[in-house]
């Protein structure tokens, strides 16, 4: 028994030493890494859209590493993204960003999904003076705080419906009235306020302008009001689940408007799957669509990105996915231009970004938000098409009544 104990001890020591040698060796040969930190909604209310960012960021990071990483001076670095689950909770997200900076010592930060969560996260980024590029928050409130460390790749929320409203003016018979409803959420409020201003400037009458409580699944009351006011178009700023509820209940209550347009939803595959045929003719807004084609930094061009993405994840990418790729493209170009990992110098390089990505041209306003506008989508025959401006298909207006389908 005694001699066995001795042997086992020796084997253990030998094993430990050997293991240590191997791990040291591996450390010596591995490429240095640039660490990115990201708190994203893996679970909770925002997790469905959060997943789009996670998928995209992972794919883009792999593509960067496969094609030689990021060059800083003469040295090339691989990148690594450290993810945490913020449970769709802004307070939790801010805590995790703090953890990423202080414990995980990440070099740079990637943004979360949705405006309400981006605001507290961006404040933490500012406190530690680490640049954050985010592709998931578009509310003006993120960029009006004079925070030099936040950059966003989604166009200003207040401008989201501009193209839709401009398109409306070209329809025959010319629409005169719109109803505008919006969720109780930072992004939705920004969208609605902006849209109201633009609509009034364009001479459209806003006959109903009302907020809906976040998390409410019942739109019966508001739809009854819409029916009574009979506007030409119904525009809603909300998130996917609300959009599905709105369309289904509009059909339940037989509310026939000539057009329904939603901010988030129509571009996502889940929205179409959930509503089936009832999703037809619904309009959407997006900063990007897979039918566009741009040269990219990480992927060769938009077409190639869409192809690789679909092979890997078996669903169509939408603007959230592309916006996430743009986050990393901005960092890659900025770090290479700065030639250092110093957060301050990289921040300055990001501010001067002027590149083309698979998401489109990226250039930032002085407040950190991208210069750009949105395109109008419509679901036709189960597919999403860009219909304005210069779409692949013509918009269908008015949409047929529920009874005539």
């Amino acid at each position: 028994m005694k001699s066995w104990g001795k042997w086992s001890k020796m084997i253990l020591i030998f094993g430990l030493v050997f293991g240590l040698l191997i791990s040291l060796n591996k450390g010596a040969f591995a490429k240095d890494v640039i660490k990115f930190g990201c708190a994203m909604s893996f679970t909770g209310k925002k997790s469905r859209t959060g997943k789009l960012y996670i998928d995209s960021l992972k794919l883009a990071a792999e593509a960067i590493n496969k094609s030689g990483g990021i060059k800083v001076g003469n040295k090339s670095y691989n990148i690594e993204i450290k993810f945490y689950d913020d449970k769709s909770d802004p307070a939790e997200s801010a805590k995790l960003i703090e953890k990423l900076v202080t414990e995980d010592k990440v070099n740079f930060l990637l943004g979360p999904y949705s405006s309400g969560i981006t605001i507290p996260d961006s404040i933490v980024a500012q406190r530690y003076k680490i640049p954050m590029v985010e592709g998931g928050g578009a509310s003006g409130k993120i960029f009006s705080r004079h925070n030099p460390y936040i950059f966003g790749t989604l166009p200003a929320a207040g401008q989201y419906f501009r193209t839709t409203l401009e398109m409306l003016l070209g329809f025959k018979p010319k629409p005169k009235t719109i109803a505008l409803i919006y969720g109780d959420d930072k992004f939705d409020i920004s969208v609605a306020k902006g849209a109201k201003k633009i609509a009034e400037k364009l001479g459209l009458k806003v006959v109903l302008y009302e907020k809906i409580s976040e998390g409410s699944a019942d739109f019966n009351t508001i739809l009854t009001k819409v029916k009574a006011k009979a506007p030409d178009a119904l525009l809603m700023a909300g998130h996917t689940e609300g959009g599905i509820n709105l369309v289904q209940q509009a059909k339940e209550l037989n509310v026939n408007v000539k057009m329904i347009s939603l901010t988030v939803g129509p571009s996502e595959a889940d929205f179409r799957k959930s509503l089936g045929k009832d999703a037809e003719y619904i309009f959407g807004v997006a900063s990007w669509s897979p039918q566009m084609n741009f040269k990219g930094i990480i992927f060769k061009n938009t077409k190639e990105f869409v192809k690789i993405f679909k092979e890997r994840y078996k669903y169509d990418p939408d603007y959230h996915n592309a916006s996430a790729v743009a986050e990393l493209a901005v960092f890659k170009s900025a770090i290479e231009r700065a030639g250092t990992l110093d957060p301050q110098k990289v921040r300055d390089a990001i501010a001067k970004t002027k590149i083309e990505t698979i998401y489109g041209p990226v250039e930032f306003n002085p407040n950190g938000q991208i210069k750009g506008s949105s395109v109008v989508l419509q679901i036709q025959g189960g597919q999403v098409y860009q219909v304005y401006p210069k779409g692949t298909k013509k918009p269908i207006y008015p949409m047929p009544k529920w009874k005539d389908r």
């Binding site: 997943k51 508001i222 029916k227 289904q248 339940e252 889940d270 959930s274």
Partner: protein
């Protein structure tokens, strides 16, 4: 338009009533405030979703399956879990129910992810009109099913031997035990019935609204409000409570804006607690 809003409120009230029926039963008989009630509704909804998506079972048929399935789950949970602590203070059962809720929610999140899902039946949004009022079939169906289940509960509780033993246990535990009622089994049956009703509510919810694993929380709250408004101790309490809440919410959100829906619910709750502490139909002691 006002008429339409009232009709909307009544139909929604029917769904509220169905949601609250089970909670009211469990609360009335065992003095357990079942915080996990919403989670059981969620399970019922997913039960319907999978039956529909995997085998094409129509929700109005899977209604029965989800009632049975949820009954078994409820029976098991009471028999082998809650019965262990039922003699402890109400606080302990509250915590246990809370734990069950967290467990079920997170299990659902792991198994089915947080994706928003929808039972897409062809007749999902069909409707008919009487004058200027449009009535969706599914909501009307939900309303009647709530009434039928309330009647079934009423019948079971008042006309059958099982029901008598349930009521006996609720009234005087020791006396019931003395005359030979198997209390543990009766409790399990009651809990099973309550959870079965939650399953039915889940099925109808899934036909009307998108579902996700975290949907239960707000439903527990709404059921709670309905039970308090209607009053404990009678099967018609939740129905009156549900209808009151449904109509009040519909009218309130019409007058003050939809953001105030929850504000209205909880204001009514406070008012009822002040002026009718036993609820509208609650029996005074």
């Amino acid at each position: 338009m006002l008429l339409q809003i009232i009709v909307n409120g009544i139909l929604k009230g029917g769904l509220y009533a169905l949601m609250a029926l089970g909670m009211s039963l469990i609360w009335g008989v065992m003095d357990i405030i079942n915080i996990a009630h919403g989670a059981f509704i969620m399970l019922g909804a997913y039960c319907t979703y999978w039956l529909f998506n995997l085998w094409g079972v129509d929700p109005f048929i899977s209604l029965f399956l989800s009632i049975i399935f949820m009954f078994i789950i409820g029976y098991g949970i009471q028999r082998y879990l809650i019965n262990l602590v039922i003699r402890a203070t109400i606080f302990i059962t509250l915590i246990l129910a809370f734990g069950i809720e967290i467990f079920i929610n997170n299990l659902a999140l792991v198994m089915w992810t947080a994706d928003v899902r929808k039972v897409q039946v062809p007749y999902g949004a069909s409707n008919f009109s009487i004058g200027c009022v449009t009535i969706p079939y599914v909501r009307l169906g939900a309303f009647f099913i709530a009434l039928v289940i309330a009647l079934v509960f009423y019948f079971v509780l008042n006309k059958t031997r099982t029901g008598r033993s349930i009521r006996a246990t609720a009234q005087d535990l020791d006396a019931a035990r003395l005359v030979g009622v198997d209390v543990a089994k009766t409790y399990a049956l009651t809990f099973g019935m309550g959870v079965g009703a939650a399953g039915a509510a889940g099925t109808l919810w899934a036909v009307l609204f998108p579902i996700n694993p975290m949907m239960g929380g707000i439903l527990t709250l709404k059921s709670f409000v309905v039970v308090i408004i209607g009053g404990l101790g009678t099967m018609f309490g939740p129905i009156i409570g549900g209808l009151t809440l449904g109509v009040a919410e519909a009218l309130g959100s019409n007058w003050f804006g939809t953001t105030y829906e929850n504000f209205i619910s909880f204001t009514i709750l406070v008012l009822v607690l002040i002026f009718l502490p036993k609820g509208i139909l609650g029996k005074s002691e």
